[in-house]
């Protein structure tokens, strides 16, 4: 199936397409965030703390008098960065592992897959916490941890697809006609397994944003002056008796981004395999 056709079908999935545009906009906002924010998101104004929303502060101010709207905008950067990491790391490590295991089979496959099983068995957030603690607390390390946690899923997926493709007649015949394993991988396997991997990658955007906010919420992610929706929620929660509004804005931002990621994943899945449409 050609990429063109997939794109055409994807475009007809309206919800997914709108979500895709939304993610695009968020990415653009993230890139130009410092130019968009009406205030310096870290500038304190102690004479105007915990202000209610107004024309000058659309979402009000936090307990140090910082403009919440500007902080939510800056938070897009963290979210987008986390998503990129959570896609790039497993793509560049998990997928090759999966392909190799699936293609070679035998004992190597067994070893790789047992390791993958073991790591998948550890609850993801716990593993990410452990890795972050080991690497040292920073946003950077939290994102690396999120990427590492996603590796086994990609490896498992790539292996499954490779196993399927490997026995296809045209791959077999390519092998018989003397094609080397590397040639086979690039020529046949990678193009064939990329659609499901692509779907997994887009779903991973949601996972990454959720994981990053969770880690930051636990104090293991973004550190001031970096701004993350998760750490905004964390601070807001301590002041829930004073102003519950503060938890709403970063939470809605997180929810919308995660939702968009899920929709894009769904849309891609249907575009690649129209049989799924009914589901």
């Amino acid at each position: 199936m050609s990429i063109k056709e997939v794109m055409r079908r994807f475009r007809s999935e309206r919800l997914a397409f709108v979500s895709f545009i939304f993610l695009l906009i968020i990415s653009i906002v993230a890139i130009f965030a410092p130019l968009i924010t009406p205030y310096n998101p870290n500038a304190q104004n102690l004479s105007n703390i915990l202000a209610n929303p107004s024309f000058s502060h659309w979402m009000g101010t936090d307990n140090l008098g910082r403009d919440i709207f500007s902080r939510v905008i800056m938070g897009t950067r963290t979210a987008i960065q986390a998503s990129l990491f959570a896609i790039i790391i497993p793509l560049s490590i998990g997928v090759p592992i999966g392909i190799i295991a699936g293609y070679l089979g035998g004992i190597i496959d067994d070893i790789f897959m047992r390791i993958v099983d073991a790591i998948i068995a550890i609850p993801g957030i716990l593993l990410a916490l452990g890795i972050t603690a080991a690497l040292g607390i920073s946003l950077w390390n939290a994102m690396i941890a999120i990427g590492i946690v996603a590796i086994p899923q990609f490896a498992r997926l790539a292996r499954g697809q490779t196993l399927q493709v490997r026995t296809e007649p045209y791959v077999e015949s390519a092998k018989i006609s003397g094609a080397g394993p590397i040639w086979t991988m690039f020529k046949h396997i990678i193009p064939n397994i990329s659609p499901p991997v692509l779907v997994q990658a887009s779903v991973n955007i949601s996972f990454a944003v959720l994981a990053e906010t969770s880690l930051s919420f636990l104090g293991m992610g973004a550190q001031s002056p970096q701004i993350s929706w998760g750490s905004m929620i964390q601070q807001a929660y301590s002041m829930i008796n004073l102003n519950p509004w503060l938890i709403v804005y970063p939470g809605v931002a997180t929810a919308l981004t995660v939702m968009a990621g899920n929709f894009v994943g769904d849309g891609l899945r249907v575009a690649i395999d129209p049989k799924l449409k009914k589901l």
């Binding site: 140090l64 001031s224 601070q235 301590s238």
Partner: protein, 525 residues
């Protein structure tokens, strides 16, 4: 997919409505003004104590161990004191009071004689005597113990069944108040012999309450000890301390009447309690401070003018007002200003101009340092954000390095990796006990082992002085020097110690060490 337009529209309306309800519901609290000054001080002594009833209190963390020599947390005292009596005690002003020792004297500089109370029995029926004290004291001094208050004690000698002598290597005035805490806890020798290391599971003392049961991280239950030596006491029939790590849990349980007394109320929650009927709030003089500790071996902290500039660049009032919402006070030394060992005249005025001037004199180019902040406490990032901005105003760049508490402690004090650490200090019963771990040259928490010859001499001298007035003068001078030279720490604010309790709770005397003594409580019917 499905009919997405309607679907999504309906969805957003629902979400919007939900969010609106949630948001509006709390808006009234959001507009309340920050509190001014301390909350009302309630007097607890009114009325004649009534016997009977059960008190349920809440604690933030479970006890580390019921074995006094293995207990390591300041929060353990509230659990230890009901079961065990100590040789001495202190009142809410941290002044020395009699305990199991009725009287004491120093026949000479190196001998301390304790005259013990007669007719005291352990919960297991055995008698309390000098032999029991000796066994306990030797346990405290032994290798298995984590307590190091008896460094200057040579040996213990039983003179008669009610008199014991401490032979000292050198004069040490801190011992008597140390005996009001772990070092002075008396465990039944019979129980020590019988249970050995399991004593932590079966605590037996002479205290007003008997231990009934413990559910780890759940609750600890005590019942009245009928054979208690103090007549009519304890007043309560039963005492239960529940472990509730989360502040909101504690507050809600207090409001619903599930528990009678909570501690560690944060400035962000006081306002929601103050208006509640049947609940009284107490804000006591606190020995707990938010401080910046630094390693004076590392530049730029090796520069005195730089340290002084830093001291003047902190706007302590702004931090008190914003971060502590008006509860708590600016801190100028590691003791509260009212304390007998404090320098009552010490004050640091916020002076950014002078700080700039000092900075210029210091010759430090591009002044900058990095400070460790711990991540689990929600107000840490706000604290460091405020400091960052205040330091930037005088031209000092502060970077922060975030890590978990355990990592921070290890890296700053054991591995000595960083320049500064946003830490806290909790008080101790005797000023020397605090100074010897925080300020003295060889102390563990003085990361750069920085001192002046004069300061070190004074610390030793103060500890060798038995007269409290004289001692007080020496400590006042020590505090002046510590502040003037900025030896190894910068006091920032004194964090409030706030208790909230049901109005029927009487006779509770909170102390600023957050070491709560519950046995004096009685309930009004």
């Amino acid at each position: 997919m499905y009919n997405c337009k309607k679907n999504i529209l309906a969805g957003f309306i629902l979400l919007f409505v939900f969010v609106l309800i949630v948001g509006c519901s709390g808006a009234k609290e959001g507009s309340s003004k920050p509190g001014e000054g301390n909350s009302k001080e309630t007097s607890n002594s009114g009325g004649k104590p009534q016997a009977g009833g059960e008190l349920v209190a809440a604690a933030g963390a479970d006890i580390t161990s019921f074995d006094p020599i293995l207990s390591t947390n300041a929060g353990d005292y509230q659990f230890l004191w009901p079961v065990y009596d100590t040789l001495t005690r202190y009142n809410s002003k941290l002044e020395l009071q009699p305990g199991l020792a009725e009287k004491w004297e120093y026949p000479d500089d190196k001998t301390l004689v304790l005259h013990l109370r007669k007719g005291v029995k352990f919960h297991d029926g055995t008698d309390f005597d000098a032999e029991a004290v000796k066994i306990n004291m030797e346990r405290v001094k032994s290798k298995d113990s984590t307590i190091s208050d008896f460094k200057n004690v040579e040996s213990f000698e039983v003179v008669d069944p009610h008199t014991i002598k401490f032979h000292l290597k050198q004069p040490d005035a801190s011992i008597l108040l140390a005996l009001a805490e772990r070092a002075g806890i008396i465990v039944s020798p019979k129980a020590i012999k019988e249970y050995g290391k399991d004593i932590a599971q079966k605590p037996v003392g002479t205290g007003p309450f008997k231990f009934v049961k413990r559910v780890p991280n759940g609750e600890i239950v005590y019942e009245k000890f009928d054979g208690y030596w103090k007549e009519k006491e304890p007043f309560l029939d039963k005492l239960t301390i529940k472990i509730m790590p989360n502040e909101t849990t504690r507050i809600n349980a207090l409001k619903s009447g599930e528990i009678d007394l909570i501690q560690g109320v944060s400035p962000f929650s006081v306002e929601s309690l103050e208006g509640t009927p049947n609940i009284k709030v107490e804000n006591v003089t606190s020995f707990t401070e938010k401080i910046i500790v630094f390693n004076a071996k590392k530049p730029p902290f090796d520069n005195k003018a730089f340290r002084q500039a830093l001291k003047l660049a902190i706007d302590r009032k702004a931090i008190t007002k914003t971060l502590l919402r008006g509860y708590g006070k600016p801190a100028y030394q590691i003791f509260p200003n009212e304390y007998w060992a404090a320098n009552h005249d010490l004050k640091i005025d916020y002076d950014p101009e002078k700080a700039k001037q000092l900075l210029a004199e210091s010759g430090v180019k591009k002044p900058s340092f990095s400070m460790i902040t711990t991540t689990q406490d929600y107000y840490e990032p706000m604290f460091s954000d405020m400091l960052k901005e205040q330091f930037a105003k005088v031209g000092i760049e502060m970077k922060t390095e975030s890590m978990e508490g355990t990592a921070a402690i290890g890296q700053f004090w054991s591995e000595k990796k960083f320049e500064a650490f946003s830490s806290g200090v909790a008080g101790k019963s005797d000023p020397h006990l605090l100074l010897e771990i925080w300020v003295a040259k060889d102390s563990f928490y003085n990361a750069g082992n920085h001192t002046t010859p004069e300061l070190d001499k004074l610390i030793a001298e103060a500890n060798a002085t038995y007269d409290q007035t004289e001692r007080g003068k020496l400590y006042s001078e020590i505090n002046r020097i510590q502040s003037e030279e900025v030896i190894n720490l910068l006091p920032v604010v004194s964090t409030p110690v706030i208790y909230a309790m049901n109005e029927k709770v009487k006779g509770f005397e909170p102390n600023g060490l957050v070491k709560s003594y519950f046995p004096s409580i009685w309930l009004e019917k």
